[in-house]
Structures are given as C-alpha cells and as structure tokens.
Symmetry: C2
Subunit: 213 residues, 2 copies
Amino acid sequence: MKTLKVPEATVTRLSIYSRFLERLDRNGVITVSSGEIAEGVGVSPAQVRKDLAYFGEFGTRGVGYNVKDLMKYTLKILGLDQNWSLAIVGAGNLGFALTTYHGFNVRGFYISAVFDNDPAKVGQKIGRLEILSMASFPSVAQNENIRIGIIAVPVRSAQEVADIMIDNGVLAILNFAPVPLSVPEHIETRNVDMSVKLEILTFNLGFRAAQSL
Amino acid sequence: MKTLKVPEATVTRLSIYSRFLERLDRNGVITVSSGEIAEGVGVSPAQVRKDLAYFGEFGTRGVGYNVKDLMKYTLKILGLDQNWSLAIVGAGNLGFALTTYHGFNVRGFYISAVFDNDPAKVGQKIGRLEILSMASFPSVAQNENIRIGIIAVPVRSAQEVADIMIDNGVLAILNFAPVPLSVPEHIETRNVDMSVKLEILTFNLGFRAAQSL
C-alpha cells in the first residue's frame, strides 16, 4: 500500500467530484465537462483533468464526460462500489455524534456496532444500536464482517483499542484520539484532528499579516 | 484571499510540521534537518523543503533549521501567534464533543461560548460554559471578540446560523453540517465531512481491485 503514488489530495478531490457527479446524475444530467465539474466543486479545470488522468482516459474531446459512467468509476476507485461494515469504539459524546451522523450511510458506510467499556453505558441504545462491551468485539467483528474501525476513546485507550481491532480483522482505522497509532504496514490509519482545519482558516485570515514579517 | 497561491495541502502539512517542531522544542532539541522533519511526520525531505520555500529562506546548508525559530515562524504563518476566540452553535452530541475537545486549546483556540436554540438546552452547562440562546449571539460575539464560528446544527439551520455569525463579525466558519454555505467573498469557510476521510481509507484498501478494471 505504501507504493501508492496517487496524492492524498487527489483522492480527497475524487471523493468530492463523485458527490458532485451523484448530484448531477440525480438531476438527470447526461454529460459534463471538466470545466463544469471544476466550477461545481471550486477547483481549476486543469486540476480536474490531472486528477482523473491518474486513473486512465476519460471523456471525449468536445463532448465531455458521461456523468453516470464517471460517477460509477469514481465510486469504484474510492472502493465505494461495495458496502463497508464499520464499528465505532467509544460511546462518549463524539462516539454518539458519529453513530448518529447521517453522512456515512449515503456513501455506503454502515455502522454495525458501537462498543464501550463503561458498564453504565453497555446495554444503552444509540438509535437502533445497543452499546456493546468490548468483550464481544471479536465475535461481533466476525459476524458483521467489520473491516473499518473508528476510534473515539480517550488517548490512553486508543492504542489498546487499535490492537484489538487489528487482531480481529479490521483493515482500516479512523482515529479521533489525538495520538499516533502504531500499526502493522498493511493496516491503513488516518487521524482526524479537528484543529488542523481551523488552522487552514487562520492561515488564510492571517496570511497578509505574515507577509509583512 | 482568493488570490492566495499556497496549496491547502501545504498549509495542512505546515500545521503538522509545527506540532512536530513544538515537540522537538519541548524535548530541548536545538536544530533539525529537513530529513528529520520528513521522517518525523512521514513525508519526503523534498516535500518539507518545497513547503517551507513558499514562505521564504530558512535554515543553513549542512546545519539545518533552528527548531525554536522555525516553530515560531510556522505558528506565525498559521496565524497562531495570537489566540482566537471561538463560538460553537449547536449543543447536540457533536457540539458537546467539540466543546469538550482538548485539541483546540493547545493550539490557541479558545471556545468562548456555546449556543443552541432549544429552550431545554439553554441554561444547561457544558464544562464551564453555559449554553446560551442564539438571541444573545450579537452581544456575546462583540464582548468576546469572536472571529471564528463552528456550526454543529442540522442542515436546515446551517445557512441561517452562518448569516447570523457573519452579521456579527465572524470571519471564518468551520461547518460540520453536510451542506455548502453561501458566504461573502471575504469570509473563509471549510466544511468538515467525516466520510471523506473514510473514503481515503477505502480508496487505499480498494486500489488494487480498481487497478484490475
């Protein structure tokens, strides 16, 4: 996996293009140009063409792209031509918010189970899901074919939770605990740090001031 | 602000470099090479040099960078040489999780107020903060000098909340509602979509399959 040469920024944009294409498709649009995609998502047309070129030849000069074909292709590239079964560990406020987050379902991510080790939480419900004890993680992960784990526990428990996930077949981990995880080479992990996005905002706000250094 | 030519990926990495430099500085490290920064954060040394080159000349050939100077400079570039006063609107699970998120404080972001329009929530406390009614947003925003707003309300209320924020001096908005905001040119906004990060994971998991198309 480490030999992959597609920049992560390209994958992020592909995810955004595919949402835009889904919207066009729902609205009955048949073809779209790179310029229209670019305008729809706020990047340059050259960027759209460059991003798509990583994955082969698309579109017909002067005609553009077939919306449905390109949409399906982007979803396939993103691994979204299948459904993914997810487990969330940590049923605090963040875990609760993630469990009830509607944005996952529409992209084919299904939250199959929520776990917590707090006896006061186990057995309570978040929507349709009952909060389970971590002791049942191995059996649930196997039965539900869980391949993606979301970590929403405090820093001190994050590595232990990651280890349990990986031991039980999880291949990819989205980690909301602000600590780097140590994982084998074949496991994909990404940390979500809420403040990085804020710093992009303050960078843009502060850029002129910094220019005058 | 729209003429800014520094890629957002560079700003994101700058944010990550600055955390690494802070850690080195806390550990008493005086100088660091681009290779060491690269290894510490998991990018190539050329990428580190290219990213820093956007902002001027740094370091001494064969000696490297002075950790404290480069750390301070990256923080200044990111607009973090000052504290920022933040307001969160929406005291549901996500708003609650964001209000108690420790990652903001350490980077100079102070949550000054939390708002919600649900009468059952107004007056309750999240940590030290009392949940306020949106009716008090204008006066609180002025008194607390709030320049950054975080939107954690449902889709149907997001634009209305953004308008109130902007009318009351907010310059940058981090939007967790999965809907694009319509804002004036001089306002910075970023949407946080939890599922984009998941799709980077599934892209990496699914890449070999897609190769065989």
